[in-house]
């Protein structure tokens, strides 16, 4: 496990780049909504993983969808990474978490990279590029940077681009962030767990895998030319679930020898074997949002027997960093014992 002081520095680096402190709240993915649902594994899931939630019986699930930005301002319509943290509630009261975002690949390989990225990708004033500068871009066959959103005065885009220009491993993740857009609904985006996990099947067969949630309703973003609305995703989800459940397929891709097992910046080829592990059906946005999402302390390393974290340094660092963040906001502690696992 990453040293506790390093975990604190990680969280502090994030807090230092916030527009304003958010005491008692998550420093990033601050704005979110909790949802209730059930997961039913596919018939084949148990042949790949012995974890309880893949045995085919219905499992209660708590999901928290979120906007990636830190801070209390809600900008649903801005281009931003979205989060989908899922807690599978197991029979003995423990849980197994799967934390995913709309970003396919991460932009740093390890903790050192993250600290260097944090130094470069600071919030900077973000202004509309002047017309003659844009004309210059067009003459060079470049696409001018986007115009600021209404009320957007600062951004990390320029710093992130500078970092990407110097570090090829980060380019895919940062490029994806630049194009990620805003979903029409939290239920209309694909979410990727980025890291590699090891799953154990019957006969103790271990396989390296990566998980993704794929929306049954399909992926759909808002139009880039539309005026971004600040608040629509919560109401959209409530309305959607009042009418009909929202579903996600859990897809599991199996890695091969030579694939990046410990590096979340590297994608796996689309030619890898892909298993449909089950269907998540979301049914309700509970009134008590504290219990449904805000108080739950998700952790990507909280895993049911049958699933293990890989040696990915970022995944390892998240174990400690999520705990530090949880302590700072007074969330439920990370426990394995059935009586207090929350």
């Amino acid at each position: 496990m990453v040293d506790a002081s390093v975990a604190k520095r990680l969280v502090q680096a994030i807090i230092d780049n916030l527009p304003e402190p958010v005491p008692g709240r998550r420093p990033v993915h601050t704005i979110g909504i909790g949802v209730k649902g059930k997961f039913v594994a596919s018939d084949v899931a148990r042949t790949y993983c012995i974890a309880e939630h893949f045995n085919g019986q219905s499992v209660d699930v708590s999901v928290r969808f979120s906007n990636g930005l830190g801070g209390l301002e809600q900008h649903d319509g801005w281009s931003d990474v979205r989060g989908m943290a899922a807690r599978f509630h197991l029979r003995d009261g423990t849980g197994s978490d799967l934390i995913a975002t709309t970003l396919g690949e991460f932009f740093v390989r390890n903790v050192d990279d993250f600290f260097k990225f944090s130094e470069v990708a600071k919030r900077e004033p973000y202004e509309r590029r002047r017309w003659w500068q844009k004309l210059g871009d067009l003459l060079q066959l470049k696409v001018p940077p986007r115009n600021p959103y209404p009320n957007e005065t600062q951004s990390v885009d320029a710093g992130a681009l500078r970092y990407a220009n110097r570090h090829r491993f980060s380019q895919l993740g940062i490029f994806q962030v630049g194009l990620i857009g805003a979903p029409e609904s939290y239920a209309r985006a694909s979410y990727h767990a980025v890291h590699t996990f090891w799953v154990t099947g019957p006969g103790a067969v271990r396989r390296p895998v990566r998980f993704s949630w794929q929306p049954v309703a399909g992926v759909r973003n808002t139009k880039l030319t539309d005026v971004p609305r600040d608040k629509y995703l919560f109401e959209e989800l409530k309305d959607r679930l009042r009418r009909w459940p929202a579903r996600f397929m859990l897809m599991m891709t199996i890695g091969e020898e030579g694939d990046a097992l410990d590096d979340p910046t590297k994608p796996w080829p689309g030619t890898r074997i892909r298993i449909a592990m089950g269907t998540l059906t979301l049914t309700e946005v509970p009134e008590d949002q504290d219990a449904a999402g805000e108080r739950i302390s998700f952790n990507p390393c909280r895993l049911a027997p049958g699933i293990e974290a890989s040696n990915d340094p970022i995944l390892e660092a998240r174990l400690g960093a999520y705990e530090v963040s949880r302590e700072m906001r007074g969330g439920c502690p990370f426990r394995w014992r059935p009586d207090d696992a929350k």
Binding site: L138, V143, L172, F175, G270
Partner: protein, 240 residues
């Protein structure tokens, strides 16, 4: 449209790249200018060489062969060459045994063969030469430059190279892998310190599509990735 507190010129410049006029003028002037200033080599076709098993099943071949006779008569000749040899082609494909799908298509004045196969590209073409070489000879003699590599049974290596050169460049699924392809072709080994300019990606793409006018976009969707023809047929009980 986005609200704007900027002037008329700002709005015009925002609107400009969406106009047909700008795209045409840029194609006639800016693209040739930048192609001269920053020349781009054509990227090679076919799948990227890989040792990994999953990358060596369900590979794509997108073969575009310009016809010598660029008219309905030339296209009819090509169609006839395929139609007259249908049984030979189907029997040959069964004998090759590693082909998931294959089809001939006429697009413009090109006869195209699109296929999905397992294993090494050169062996795939060798198997074809062995099983339906005669059909290839009939088709290739209608294609520009085809006479140099026919009969293919007597020009095996030259024929494989000829096919490879007409197999489309497969643009990777990720934009950054496209940059890595360009760097590999130009001998760039990412020496430290790296000093890229990601804002040039649009121009690099435009110029690459000038050098490789026809490309395959992305790695392609696979309903059952990672499985060979042999595995699928065995699992479905279709025999061999």
């Amino acid at each position: 449209m986005m609200p704007s507190n900027e002037g008329l010129l700002d709005r015009i410049v925002d609107w400009l790249p969406t106009t047909l006029g700008f795209k045409r003028v840029a194609s006639w002037t800016l693209v040739p200018y930048w192609a001269r200033r920053t020349p781009v080599k054509p990227l090679p076709g076919g799948p990227h060489p890989s040792f990994q098993r999953g990358d060596n099943v369900q590979c794509m071949m997108n073969l575009i062969m310009p016809l010598k006779i660029k008219s309905p008569i030339g296209r009819a000749e090509a169609a006839l060459a395929i139609a007259q040899n249908k049984d030979t082609i189907y029997a040959g494909l069964n004998n090759v045994g590693t082909v998931h799908f294959a089809r001939f298509v006429i697009v413009g004045d090109n006869i195209c063969m699109f296929s999905v196969y397992d294993g090494d590209f050169t062996n795939y073409i060798r198997d074809f030469i062995a099983t339906i070489g005669e059909v290839f000879n009939e088709v290739v003699k209608l294609v520009e430059g085809g006479e140099k590599v026919t009969p293919c049974e007597k020009n095996v290596e030259a024929f494989i190279q000829w096919v490879h050169e007409r197999d489309l460049y497969q643009v990777p699924d990720t934009a950054t892998d496209f940059l890595r392809d360009q760097e590999a072709l130009n001998g760039d080994r990412a020496v430290s310190p790296v000093n890229d300019d990601l804002t040039l990606l649009p121009r690099k793409l435009v110029l690459q599509l000038r050098a490789n006018a026809n490309v395959s976009l992305g790695n392609g969707y696979r309903a059952y990735p990672g499985f060979s023809v042999a595995q699928v047929r065995k699992q479905l009980g279709l025999g061999w």
